[in-house]
Symmetry: C2
Subunit: 349 residues, 2 copies
DNA sequence: GTTAGCACTCGACGCGAATGAGTGCTAACA
DNA sequence: TGTTAGCACTCATTCGCGTCGAGTGCTAAC
C-alpha cells in the first residue's frame, strides 16, 4: 500500500457515491448520475477523470466499454472498511425485535431460529444460523419420562443450557420401576461427562450392565445417542432463502440454481460459519473472498454469539455483493446483542 | 357423455401416446413422432386425422396453429382415470423406503416428515404433508419436568399419540414440591379433556386457583397452551420445493415466483390438503381443477393417512400437470401404507 | 485543476428474412 | 370406407442488421 494506493477525500466521496448508488439501483452508475446529485459540486467530466483513476486502482470496473462503473470486490472492501457509516435501526424496528426475542423461549435452538427469522425479515436477505454447539459441555441430566405404555421421552440437558428430547418407541412395556432404574443408571453413568465423550462404546456398556430386557434398553440408548448427536453437531438453518430472488442479479435461472444448490449443502454452510472462529466480532466476506465459485457475487456478513465467555455459534447474512452493508451490520449487531443476553440468562440457570 | 364423447381404442392409444410422450419431453408432440414409434402401425396422416378429432373433443390442444399437440386438463383427466397403468415401485426402492420408515421414530410429526422427504426424493417433485391433527383427541397426560433450576420442560401427550413438549423459562426458582403440585393440578384439571376445549378461560382458572407465585404459573400455562396450539393446528410442511425448478415449465422466473409465493402460504396449502376430506383414498386434481390461478399448470395428488378408523392428516405431491402420474401414485400409495401401519402402532400404544 | 464539447463504443431494441416442424386438405389407393 | 402420400400453408424461432442512447475518453479552452 504505497502512497499511490491512497485515495484522497474526493475519490473516497466518489467511490462512496458509486457504491451507495449501485447498492440500490443495481445499475452501473455513470459520471453524470453522480454529478447530478449536487453533494459534491463537480462536473461529470471531472468525475469521469476520477473514475478512470479509481478504475486503474481497481476499486471499480466497467462491465463493458462505455457503460457506467460497478464497484469491484476491492471497492466494496474499501467501502466496508472505511466508508460505510452504520446507523442504528429505527426505534420501532428495535422495539419489534426486542418484543419478538423477549417471548419466553426456553430452548436455545428456538431462540436462534427466532433470531434468524428476525434478521432475514428486517434485512430482506437470506439468513443462516448455527445452533449452539455444545460438544464439550458436560451432561447435566438425563431423564426418561413415560408417554404411553410403550413410549418414553428421553431428555438430555447439558450444563450449557441445551435441552434435547426425543420420543422413543419401545418394543415392550416398561414398568415405572424399570423406567426409574434405567433413568437412574443412565444418569449416574453419564452425567458430568462431556457430550463428545459419550461414545458408542460407553453406551454399549450401559446396555450390557443393565439387566433390562432388550427391546427396551436398545431403543432408549439409541434415543440418547440421537439426542447427543443433535447436541454435538450444530444444526445450520436457513431463513428467507427465497429473498434472494428479489434481486435482479439472480434473474438468471442458472445462477439462482447454482446458489440454491450450494445453500442446501449443510457442510458448505457449516464451513462458512465455522471460519468465524472463536471471535465474536463481525466479519464481512465479499464476493471472491469467500473462495467459492458460486459465491463470487455474494457477500456474507457473520457474527458469533455466546455468553460473553464462550463462543457458541454464529449467525450470518447472505446477499448480493451490493448488499446494504450498513443496514445488515446494524441488524446483526442488534439481534446478536439480544441473543447474547438471552443466552447468558439461560446458561446462568 | 353421449356416444360421440366415447373414444375408440385407437384414439385412446393415441391419447396415451401423446400424454406419455409429453410427460417426459415437455414438447408438443406431433403426428410424425407418434407414427415413428411403431407401436400402432399408422401413418402420420392417419394420426393427424385422429388428433384433429381428439382436439375437437377437447382432450388435446395446440399451443398455436401448426405446432404439435399438448394434452389438455381433460386429456390428463381421461388419462389418469382410464389409461394410466400404475406399476409397482422397484424392489430396491421399496426396500429403501421401508428401512427409512422403520427407524424407531416415536413422534408422529417426525414420521410424517420422514414420509414427505422420502416421497419427494423418489418422485422428484414437491411433497407437502399435513402433520396429524389431534384437535379432538383427549389429553392423556401433562407432565412438568425440571431442566435446570429456572427452566422446566412441559410435556403434553394426547391419546391420539401426539407428543409435544416445550422448554419454558421461569422467572423464579421452583421447588420440586412446587413442580409436583403444579403438575398434579394441571393433570387433574386437564387430562381427559379434548385439546380443542382447553380454552384460555380454563387456563386462566388454573392460574387463579393455584397459589403458586406468579412468574411461574404464567410461563408454564403459556407453555401448555403453546403445546396445545401446536397439537391442534396441524402443521403443513413442504419438502423438495426446489425440485420444481427442474422442470422447463418453471424456467419463467415470474411463474416460478408465483408458485413459490403460493406454496409459502400455510393456509393455502392447508386448504388444498383439507379438501381431501375424510376419505383416505387417492385423489388427483389436475391443473384448473384446483381452482387456483397459479395452480393452473400444476397437479396435486393427495392421499389421507390414518389408523384405519380415523383420518389424521394427508400427504400430497405437487408437480407440473404433465407429472409422471403412474410413478407418483405408486409412491404415495406405498409410503402411505407404511405410514398407516406405523400410525396404528403408535396409536395403539 | 476544472469543464465544455465531441467523436466513439457498445448493449438494448425492433424489424424482417430464412428456417423448419407440424398441420389441414385433397386426391389416390386398397 | 378407411388409409396414405403429397402439397400448400402457418407460425414460433433464430439470426443478421440498423437504430438509439447512455456513457465514455480525449482534447482544448477556461
Amino acid at each position: 500500500m504505497g502512497w499511490d494506493e491512497e485515495l484522497n477525500d474526493r475519490k473516497k466521496a466518489i467511490l462512496r457515491s458509486i457504491v451507495d448508488d449501485y447498492i440500490h439501483t443495481a445499475q452501473p452508475v455513470g459520471s453524470r448520475t453522480i454529478s447530478r446529485k449536487h453533494e459534491l459540486a463537480l462536473s461529470s467530466a471531472t468525475i469521469r477523470n476520477e473514475m478512470a483513476d479509481l478504475e486503474d486502482l481497481g476499486y471499480i470496473a466497467q462491465p463493458h466499454t462505455s457503460s457506467g462503473r460497478v464497484p469491484s470486490d476491492k471497492g466494496y472492501r474499501f467501502y466496508v472498511d472505511n466508508l460505510v457509516q452504520v446507523q442504528e435501526l429505527a426505534t420501532e424496528e428495535m422495539q419489534h425485535i426486542r418484543t419478538a426475542m423477549d417471548e419466553r423461549i426456553g430452548e436455545l435452538d428456538d431462540l436462534v431460529r427466532r433470531a434468524a427469522t428476525l434478521i432475514s425479515a428486517i434485512t430482506g436477505y437470506t439468513t443462516l444460523a448455527m445452533t449452539p454447539q455444545a460438544e464439550e459441555a458436560p451432561i447435566r441430566s438425563i431423564q426418561i419420562v413415560p408417554v404411553g405404555t410403550q413410549r418414553v421421552l428421553v431428555i438430555v440437558v447439558t450444563s450449557a443450557g441445551t435441552v434435547n428430547s426425543r420420543v422413543v418407541r419401545l418394543d415392550r412395556e416398561l414398568s415405572d420401576e424399570g423406567i426409574h432404574r434405567l433413568s437412574a443408571f443412565l444418569g449416574q453413568r453419564l452425567e458430568g461427562k462431556p457430550v463428545s465423550e459419550v461414545t458408542i462404546r460407553l453406551m454399549m456398556e450401559v446396555e450390557q450392565v443393565l439387566g433390562l430386557a432388550d427391546g427396551i434398553v436398545l431403543p432408549v440408548v439409541e434415543g440418547v445417542r440421537e439426542c447427543m448427536r443433535r447436541i454435538g453437531h450444530s444444526e445450520i438453518m436457513l431463513d428467507g432463502m427465497m429473498n434472494l430472488f428479489n434481486f435482479p442479479e439472480f434473474n438468471d435461472l442458472l445462477k439462482a440454481r447454482e446458489i440454491m444448490d450450494l445453500l442446501r449443502e449443510e457442510d458448505v454452510l457449516s464451513a462458512m460459519l465455522h471460519t468465524v472462529g472463536k471471535r465474536t466480532n463481525m466479519e464481512v466476506r465479499i464476493g471472491s473472498e469467500n473462495h467459492l465459485g458460486p459465491m463470487r457475487d455474494l457477500s456474507l456478513v457473520t457474527a458469533g454469539y455466546g455468553d460473553g465467555e464462550r463462543h457458541y455459534g454464529a449467525i450470518g447474512v447472505i446477499g448480493p455483493t451490493r448488499m446494504a452493508y450498513s443496514r445488515v451490520i446494524a441488524s446483526i449487531d442488534y439481534v446478536r446483542k439480544l441473543l447474547d443476553r438471552e443466552m447468558l440468562r439461560i446458561v446462568r440457570d
